[in-house]
């Protein structure tokens, strides 16, 4: 009986062992034996614009080593379309069906739902394809993409920031999107396209052209401040603004002059960067080397510290949305905020005051010798070339940016999610004419900055000369690491919390930045 049992066990072990061994060997042989497939296709697209017909021809040679990690895509666009208002109706090149993983940070329900609707539409247009959507908190995107790339499994498309471009392009994982830009022609705002241009190629796509604004309760201003409402007519100096904040801060009435988001490093970085930018200075020198301990940076962080003295107690633990809650409930008089805050105002402020006559905007103050300076929406779409279906990811982006689809996403937050495609913006202004009329001054304020080239992506100050050409400084190769390191936020909070003088904080930041750059191999950018 026992012998029989043992014999049966041995047989079972042998069978299982053989099966597992066979599977492993078979998989290995299959992996090694499958030859690389060479796909070559020529795509001819006819683009019709009023009065012009342009034929764009592109040859796409794609070598795919199935089962292996290598994908080489060579794209040769022969024609760049430059005629305005292109109406493209041609079918897209044949794309292999598959699944796209798509990360975005739009937590606002209507815009998040618009993505879902568009994903369904995309799946209908591309049978066999689907878009798997994940919504991430802004502060989590950096770490999440870092871990995804380290694991070699990035999403096809993700919402990121401009500073990702150089980092990921240099790593060879950011997909070149020249053909997409050629396809759009000059229907894309030049400023937006220019911001995504790096080392001769277009990489990411700017999501929207919104600008960060200084929102002030006009009713409080008229009640407490002995200066006329400046609106968009006059840019206040820093000292005038601090005086106004003194007058607006009324702890006895439970009102504070200003609210800043102190919980999240991301927002501290932005506010600090805007303060430094307004001085006309930068934390990079003319050669792109890191330069924190210069007078302009010190001036900027000192000002940031002064601003925080007008914030409610505990501001350092409060988040961005908390600042808007304070504004709409009348607990603070001013915030730095994005135009999407209009939705928040309309939702939570009493209906009779939810308008631009109460929630006004003014130009951001600057010191003597300073300049107009604000932040342009720092959200960018990135396609990762080492994802599973990068071409399909690019196709999704192309589909999403078609005017009808783009407007479908923008229309619920019209003054913030303003399309970078001119035709889509025109369409949006028609669709939401009422909204644009109601909040016209908010739109005008953004226009003011855009017209003057004064709205830049976070961490950017100016163009600098690199290798004989001009390049935006936020595309310096170390900016991603610098931003993620927390050095800037620490510098600002050292001053705001009274831990260090502005000079010491700047010196410490410079020391840490130099150590960081050396450890990351950016020795050329160390002074």
């Amino acid at each position: 009986m026992s012998m029989e049992k043992n014999s049966s066990r041995r047989r079972a072990i042998k069978v299982i062992g053989s099966a597992v061994g066979g599977l492993v060997v078979g998989a290995a042989i299959g992996y090694l034996a499958k030859p690389a497939e060479l796909i070559e296709k020529t795509v001819t697209a006819t683009i019709t614009v009023p009065g012009t017909t342009v034929t764009a021809k592109e040859t796409v040679t794609q070598t795919v080593t199935v089962g292996g990690p290598t994908t080489v895509v060579t794209t040769t666009p022969t024609t760049v379309v430059t005629t305005p208002t292109t109406v493209v109706t041609t079918p897209s090149p044949t794309i292999k069906p598959g699944k796209i993983t798509f990360w975005h940070c739009e937590s606002y329900d209507p815009t998040a739902k618009a993505f879902v609707r568009l994903a369904d539409k995309f799946a209908q247009k591309y049978p066999g394809s689907s878009v798997d959507i994940s919504v991430l908190a802004w502060a989590d995107v950096g770490p999440k993409i870092a871990s995804a790339l380290a694991a070699g499994a990035p999403p096809e498309v993700a919402m990121g920031t401009f500073s990702w471009i150089s980092k990921f392009a240099d790593m060879g994982v950011e997909m070149i999107l020249d053909d997409l830009y050629s396809y759009w022609g000059n229907d894309v705002f030049e400023a937006s396209a220019d911001m995504c241009y790096y080392k001769g190629h277009y990489y990411a796509v700017h999501c929207t052209i919104a600008c960060d604004l200084l929102v002030v309760r006009k009713d409080f201003w008229e009640q407490y401040v002995d200066m006329p409402w400046p609106g968009l007519k006059k840019r206040l100096s820093w000292s005038e603004w601090l005086t106004a904040l003194d007058q607006l801060t009324r702890p006895d009435k439970g009102i504070w002059g200003l609210d800043l988001a102190g919980k999240t490093r991301y927002f501290i970085d932005e506010d600090t960067w805007m303060s430094v930018g307004a001085t006309g200075g930068a934390w990079y020198d003319d050669q792109g080397r890191v330069d924190f301990d210069n007078d302009k940076v010190i001036q900027g962080i000192e000002y940031y510290g002064e601003l925080t003295k007008h914030c409610p107690p505990g501001w350092e633990g409060r988040d961005y949305l908390d600042t808007f809650s304070s504004l709409v409930t009348g607990r603070v008089a001013a915030v730095y905020g994005w135009p999407r805050a209009i939705g928040y105002i309309e939702q939570y402020a009493p209906a009779e005051i939810a308008n631009q006559d109460v929630f006004g905007v003014i130009l951001k103050p600057a010191p003597p010798g300073g300049r107009d300076f604000t932040q342009i929406d720092d959200n960018t779409w990135h396609v990762f070339s080492n994802s599973k279906n990068p071409d399909l990811g690019k196709e999704w982006l192309k589909f999403f940016m078609e005017p009808d689809n783009y407007v479908e996403w923008c229309k619920d937050v019209p003054i913030h999610l303003m399309p970078i495609r001119k035709s889509a913006l025109d369409k949006l202004k028609q669709v939401r004419a009422d909204y644009f009329a109601k909040w016209g001054s908010w739109l005008d304020c953004q226009q003011y900055y855009i017209d003057r080239g004064a709205a830049l992506p976070t961490m950017g100050f100016r163009k600098i000369k690199v290798d004989g050409g001009l390049m935006w400084d936020y595309l310096l190769p170390y900016v991603f690491e610098l931003r993620e390191s927390g050095i800037i936020a620490d510098m600002a909070m050292d001053v705001a919390m009274g831990r260090k003088s502005p000079q010491d904080a700047a010196r410490d930041a410079q020391k840490r930045a130099v150590e960081l750059l050396i450890s990351k191999g950016y020795k050329d950018y160390v002074p």
Binding site: I268, P312, G317, S485, M493, L516
Partner: protein
């Protein structure tokens, strides 16, 4: 027969074969990550590329002797861990003793007492953030309503207190349930004998209840200490790493920030290894103390 050895050897081989999945699982899920972290800690490793360059003990030396944040975050982790464990223990034992008594609605109260531990941490923390919001939060509203001054619960001066408060609220039920389970197994005859011997309530607690709880308290203290020292989610969700977050960040948060913020996986791994080393010492010393006390 010779080919396959004795029956005992065959049984052992078969037993080993059956245990193999568990062994592989243990090696893959526990041993490999720790060993890899130990290996990483001896290298400079960029989080993106994981291209390693050997630096020996540099990461450890930097953390221990040349890092302005390491000591601060270790200290903050200590305050958080010790503070919250002591409070959890005191409250947890107290609540367990109450819940061990007979009273009307005891089952309902027992169920409710578990609630904080059942609610997902993230929800609990967000609710607390809302309640304690300095400007428009409900708690400050009540304080102002009764004539008091609002408190900046999320500001740098109170954020550690708030963190401990929330942690005590979330984790005390674990202590309660563990202690209550032991209380229910204490032989009633011990209390009866003590009563016959003239012991009052306090004496019965001291000489019957406490000795019976010794083992469970030891286990609970060890577990809660380990878990509070390695706690990442609660401090991170409460204050992230910007302004106030710096005042409650502990070593796990710092390791995360170093790995995914500064993108230095090697240094992040070194911080984790130091943490493991510290906790190993804590457990060993506690074990020894327990053995001495129970001899």
């Amino acid at each position: 027969m010779k080919r396959y050895g004795t029956l005992q050897q065959k049984e052992s081989r078969f037993g080993f074969f059956l245990a193999l999945p568990s062994i592989l699982f243990f090696l893959g899920i526990i041993v490999f990550p720790v060993a890899f972290a130990a290996y990483l800690s001896l290298n400079y490793a960029d989080t993106f590329h994981l291209e390693l360059s050997f630096v020996g003990l540099d990461n450890y030396l930097k953390a221990l002797f040349n890092d302005q944040f390491f000591a601060q975050f270790f200290y903050q982790g200590l305050v958080y861990g010790v503070g919250s464990v002591i409070l959890q223990l005191g409250l947890g034992i107290g609540i367990a003793l109450v819940l061990n008594e007979e009273f009307k609605g005891r089952s309902l109260v027992r169920g409710l007492s578990l609630l904080p531990y059942v609610i997902p941490f993230v929800i609990g923390i967000l609710v607390f953030r809302w309640l304690l919001e300095p400007v428009y939060g409900f708690v400050n509203y009540l304080i102002i309503f009764i004539g008091g001054k609002p408190v900046a619960w999320l500001g740098k001066d109170y954020i550690m207190f708030t963190l401990i408060l929330i942690s005590v609220w979330i984790f005390t039920p674990f202590v309660t349930v563990s202690v209550l389970a032991r209380l229910q197994t204490i032989d009633q005859s011990l209390y009866d004998s003590a009563k016959v011997d003239g012991a009052g309530k306090l004496m019965r607690f001291r000489h019957v209840t406490l000795p019976a709880l010794r083992e469970v308290i030891f286990v609970v203290v060890i577990l809660r200490t380990l878990w509070m020292f390695t706690k990442f989610d609660v401090p991170y969700l409460l204050a992230a790493t910007g302004g106030a977050g710096k005042y409650i960040a502990n070593l796990p948060v710092y390791a995360f920030e170093t790995t995914f913020g500064t993108l230095n996986a090697g240094y992040g791994a070194a911080i984790c290894m130091i943490l493991i080393f510290i906790l190993a010492i804590v457990v060993t010393v506690s074990q020894k103390i327990y053995e001495v006390l129970t001899k």
